[in-house]
């Protein structure tokens, strides 16, 4: 991603921008959808953030972690949108149920029984939305606890605690007997 950003900044390379978009738009949309429910609005918000990235590409050399920057911008834009449509002042971050987990391989290929893995799957899907979002960002987007904390505007401790809650729940199911 950093390489693409350099090409965008130094050569105004439109292909690099398109590549960046194609590679990440998917994840950006899903992330935006964890704040705004509607897909169309999520897409619009992400597109706006990327228009700004191009228009202000000359300033990107001041950004240390571009991925964290983009996710943070998307989150802020989502919260602004929510504030603009709700009548009362609402500064609290509400996370929607945007993620559903599933197993990427046949349960027979993992070391635990099919029933057990299904129970665990249900357990992950039943986690509170915010906890699920954090679990997802760490697991799949490859962010560290610190980065997730930075993006969501939470403390490192909170993020770590949420992640532990998710793991603890799985652990209890696995070793209940």
């Amino acid at each position: 991603m950093q390489q693409l950003i350099t090409r965008i900044r130094e050569d105004a390379d439109e292909f690099a921008f398109n590549e960046l978009y194609r590679n990440h738009a998917h994840n950006f949309f899903r992330f935006a959808q964890s704040f705004v429910r509607e897909r169309e609005i999520a897409e619009e918000i992400v597109n706006d953030v990327l228009v700004r990235l191009w228009v202000e590409r000359s300033k990107t050399d001041q950004i240390r972690n571009i991925q964290v920057y983009l996710y943070t911008s998307i989150k802020n834009a989502c919260l602004n949108h929510i504030r603009s449509i709700s009548s009362k002042r609402n500064n609290e971050m509400k996370v929607t149920e945007a993620y559903y987990f599933h197993l990427s391989v046949d349960p027979s290929q993992i070391l635990i029984s099919k029933e057990l893995s299904l129970t665990m799957l249900t357990a992950v899907n039943d986690l509170p939305p915010r906890c699920k979002l954090i679990f997802k960002m760490v697991k799949e987007d490859g962010f560290s606890c610190k980065e997730v904390a930075c993006i969501l505007g939470l403390s490192d401790k909170t993020v770590f605690a949420q992640l532990s809650i998710a793991l603890k729940k799985l652990h209890t199911i696995l070793y209940a007997k």
Partner: protein, 346 residues
């Protein structure tokens, strides 16, 4: 006790905040309590579900990109962005000053706009098309001209052509069959050259990532003007190929006649029938064409490999087949990592 320490270590490991000692401790955990591996095993295969709507989305990505570029062009055409000021009662003098300032800004805006006809066109209904890697797109313009665009090309044209000319912009490669209209020349604008046509079939290859620009004329007559030397015009006759080589500040050009071949065999337009034709071309030039055709990224791990010469014709081959054919004549090995192909010496 052991449990909570294990969860702490797992969380730290996942959240990338574990110290090397803690990672070692976690590994020891797994050795002493193999049972605990199940947990890692489970989280490893856990992924978020792709909803159906998400996979359908891939097609719409390009539509979204078109929208984004339109928006960017619109934003960039606004010259001095005036900061949004809070509305507050102004004294008469301030109003007067504000009106004057707006007059000046408007003047600056129009003066800045005037010299460049492209910008004015961009403001009035332009169609922008981007052809993703691995695709070829065909379209018909409002005047009846047919254009076929190769992978990785951006093309824009007005929804309605002006009465004086038909101006289009191209970054990439396109084959044009221009509808005849002697009163309105057809103009193809690229980064480095401007091509003027009356009615003809020709191919332009002007990717901004390539060092060379090529124009191949099959029938009719075209005139090529260099953007940095407006006084220099090159008139091309049928079956001629013009190559422009970008050498820093100066642009060199070379006009050559194509051997008398059947239309299907002209390498320059082989892409029209989904073929890739290489005749003694450098490997790095070949690789950029493969990148566009198969939508992959190719990385040379050895500089020397770039200079190898490649010849061959590919039509329906898969990427793997194409690479293994090239391997028959050129000694190299490759490995694939997702969308990236790494080439190195054997």
């Amino acid at each position: 006790m052991i449990e909570s320490r294990f969860i702490e270590l797992m969380a730290k490991h996942m959240g990338k905040s574990a110290t090397p000692e803690e990672i070692k401790e976690l590994e020891e955990f797994f050795i002493h309590f193999p049972e605990y591996r199940k947990m890692q095993n489970f989280t490893d295969v856990l992924t978020t579900e792709e909803k159906q709507s998400d996979t359908l989305m891939t097609k719409d990505l390009d539509q979204n990109l078109d929208k984004i570029w339109k928006e960017i062009k619109r934003e960039e055409s606004i010259v001095a962005p005036v900061e949004e000021a809070k509305i507050r009662p102004l004294s008469f003098l301030k109003w007067a000053a504000a009106v004057l300032l707006m007059g000046i800004l408007a003047a600056v805006f129009f003066l800045a706009q005037k010299p460049d006809p492209l910008d004015r066109l961009a403001l009035s209904g332009m169609q922008n098309i981007y052809v993703p890697f691995g695709k070829i797109r065909e379209l018909q313009l409002p005047d009846g001209t047919r254009v076929k665009l190769n992978a990785g090309s951006s093309f824009s044209y007005p929804k309605v052509f002006s009465t004086k000319n038909r101006l289009v912009t191209l970054k990439g490669e396109g084959f044009f069959e221009v509808a005849r209209d002697a009163n309105r020349p057809f103009l193809v604008h690229t980064d480095k050259v401007m091509i003027k046509v009356l009615g003809t079939a020709f191919n332009v290859k002007a990717y901004s990532t390539d060092k060379k620009i090529e124009a191949t004329l099959l029938s009719g007559k075209i005139q090529v003007g260099l953007n940095d030397k407006p006084e220099k015009n090159i008139v091309m006759k049928p079956n001629e190929k013009l190559t422009l080589i970008n050498k820093g500040a100066a642009t060199e050009y070379e006009l050559e006649e194509l051997p008398d071949l059947h239309k299907d065999e002209v390498a320059e337009i082989a892409w029209l029938s989904n073929k890739l034709v290489f005749t003694n071309e450098r490997f790095d030039e070949v690789s950029t064409q493969i990148e566009r055709r198969f939508d992959v990224k190719i990385v040379f791990e050895n500089e020397a490999l770039k200079k190898e010469r490649i010849s061959g014709v590919f039509k329906d081959e898969s990427l793997e087949q194409a690479l293994s054919f090239i391997k028959m004549t050129t000694s190299f090995k490759y490995r694939r990592d997702g969308g990236v192909i790494f080439l190195s010496l054997r």
